[in-house]
Symmetry: C2
Subunit: 162 residues, 2 copies
């Protein structure tokens, strides 16, 4: 394993802890952190239901907290680490923030925007493209997602009136 | 002019007023409103610099306020009206919010995501596609944008040390 891969896994463990916090609140278990020069400067997890805000994805919240921590919205020397492949909203937000590097876990075949079914990560009109590293600890991320949706399906089966 | 076009222009005037508020704060002049069953339920303008937040586009702020006003993040019976063609972040946010209709002003040839250079508005994986109406009062929107960037260039020319 390369040094970069080892560091990425270590950061992803922090993001996975955030995903577990989301899960404990009944939210889709996705977590994200932002790292600046080796230090974690923000941590966040999906809060769409809790905040009643469709834009409250882990990445958006982590980017906003990071900007607040650094006192600037340009995060060109930062890495965004997220447990699931970012959707178009979050990928665009990372690029608007000038994020230098995006490290993600499992692929998202419906909303993902870094590989298939669409790839916005290299769109040249948006300026410099971020470095990408995908598939980091993807099994752990997938396991969290699958158990969440399995439980959700079980709940709706037992409560047909909901 | 069709009835829909006339209503759209009336709503766009409200969004243009928001864009002017952005301009008065030194922000890129973009404004947005959300309309629910004929009533404006949220108004917002670009606040990236003021809030120090790369995600504080007019549309994101208007969607969040609308969700707060209705007490739900699903805005399937709402229209989003914005003075400029939405970028990928904002278009995805509108689709995640299940926005029914997007009405926009001028085209954005760099960041726009509804026509060229990219079109995310009809991506079938995201579920039902919003109705679209572009080019509404686009001259007024363009005029605001052009005068803003002209002034910005003038300022940076007169202050080479900035």
């Amino acid at each position: 394993m390369s040094h970069r891969q080892a560091i990425a896994q270590q950061w992803m463990e922090e993001a996975l802890n955030e995903a577990k916090l989301a899960q404990s609140k009944g939210e889709v278990p996705i977590g994200a952190i932002v790292v600046h020069r080796g230090s974690t400067i923000s941590r966040a997890h999906n809060l769409v239901e809790s905040l009643n805000d469709a834009t409250a994805h882990a990445e958006i919240l982590a980017l906003r907290k990071a900007a607040s921590a650094l006192g600037r919205w340009r995060l060109q020397d930062c890495s965004l680490i997220v447990t699931l492949e970012p959707c178009s909203m979050c990928l665009a937000a990372a690029r608007l923030s000038r994020i230098d590097e995006i490290i993600f876990g499992a692929l998202d075949e419906r909303f993902g925007s870094v590989g298939r079914p669409r790839d916005l990560s290299k769109d040249p009109l948006w300026g410099p493209t971020p470095r990408l590293l995908g598939g980091v600890c993807s099994d752990k991320s997938l396991e969290l997602m699958q158990s969440f949706f399995k439980e959700l399906r079980g709940r709706s089966k037992n409560s047909p009136s909901e």
